[in-house]
């Protein structure tokens, strides 16, 4: 005897892949056929993984142990140069500026000067980090 199967029944039978004769005998073959096609499509998935090997190599390159930190790395050299430049400019200014200006500077606005210098250093530190991230990004791929 033909029996109309509910959505739950059809889905369960197709999921379990069992009692398929019950599906054949169903009084609502259109619904069974629609579900059968749907389950077929759902199980197919996609095969577009052509790039997976290349992607795997990129991942492995990124997780490979980083080379030992070297004191002469680009980042460290940039910092050494920046500090040397700062010291040189300070020495130059101390040599060039008249003595009374330097004395006035030390005696007067020393605190604002320290604050200004500190602020400038912090700004350059922030900016250099941002810059380093920018120039490092393409090489990481």
């Amino acid at each position: 005897m033909q029996k109309k199967l509910s959505d739950e029944d059809i889905q369960r039978l197709l999921s379990e892949g069992d009692h398929l004769e019950a599906l054949d005998k169903a009084a609502n073959p259109e619904e069974v056929a629609a579900y059968s096609v749907l389950f077929e499509v759902l199980a197919e998935g996609s095969t577009s993984f052509e790039q997976s090997e290349a992607l795997e190599e990129k991942i492995m390159a990124k997780i490979s142990p980083q080379s030992k930190a070297r004191w002469w790395s680009f980042e460290n050299i940039a910092w050494v140069l920046a500090i040397c430049t700062f010291i040189s400019i300070t020495i130059l200014l101390l040599g060039v500026l008249p003595k009374h200006i330097i004395e006035n500077l030390i005696a007067g606005p020393l605190l604002p000067l320290v604050a200004f210098t500190g602020g400038t250093v912090m700004f350059f530190q922030w900016w250099s980090k941002k810059w380093m991230t920018k120039i490092k990004k393409p090489s990481s791929d």
Binding site: D7, E8, Q11, E30, E31, A33, A34, Y35, V37, L38, F39, E40, V41, L42, A43, E44, G45, S46, S48, F49, Q51, S52, L55, E56, K58, I59, M60, K62, I63, S64, P65
Partner: protein, 194 residues
């Protein structure tokens, strides 16, 4: 079969070949999640790498409370959603009964077309695939994890952080709506079943 504990221990000891095994075992799973959620191919590739890097980074925190594949699927799903939010790509969550109405109209046969012009089997599959793509993110992910990756309701629930009952309900509703869309297209005379 992959001994997850051994392979994870080897990765944590710095064995890179062991991590290759993890990538190869789970690449299909990750790519299927990405294919369902991320529309742009370049973004998918970028995210694919980021997901495995995240897996490598967080592997030490994996406590084997679920299968490794479930844990990786969870990372892939969460990172995909974060990516969509970051890129301001709208994510639909709710499944409405008329979700495919526009699509079915596109497939309706015109008045002047010959009545024997029917969609071939491949076109029918393509029609279903397009309807699947229209489903909200978590419905698509659940369908993929269940039908393609053969994950259980419990595993999907763990990966997507939702109760098993909700997973079953979502799966049932999505399949029923897709079946209804197929029947509707059939009634419109677009194709016949074999």
């Amino acid at each position: 079969m992959l001994d997850e504990r051994k392979i994870v221990a080897r990765v944590l000891q710095g064995d890179q070949d062991a991590f290759r095994v993890i990538i190869r075992t789970h690449q299909r799973l990750v790519m299927h999640v990405l294919l369902k959620l991320i529309p742009v191919a370049e973004d998918r590739e970028e995210l694919y790498q980021d997901i495995f890097l995240q897996v490598h980074q967080r592997l030490g925190a994996f406590r084997f409370q679920s299968k490794l594949s479930t844990w990786i699927a969870q990372i892939a799903y969460n990172m995909s959603l974060n990516y969509l939010r970051k890129k301001r790509i709208p994510i639909s969550w709710e499944l409405s009964d008329d979700i495919f109405s526009g699509k079915n109209e596109t497939y309706s046969r015109g008045e002047d077309e010959a009545p024997d012009v029917l969609l071939e089997q491949e076109e029918l599959k393509s029609f279903i695939q397009q309807n699947i793509e229209q489903l909200p993110a978590r419905y698509k992910t659940i369908l993929t994890l269940y039908h393609i990756e053969d994950m259980s309701y419990k595993e999907i629930g763990q990966a997507l952080k939702m109760p098993e009952g909700t997973v079953k309900n979502y799966l049932f509703r999505a399949r029923k709506l897709l079946k209804d869309s197929i029947l509707k297209a059939q009634q419109n005379g677009n194709f016949l079943f074999e």
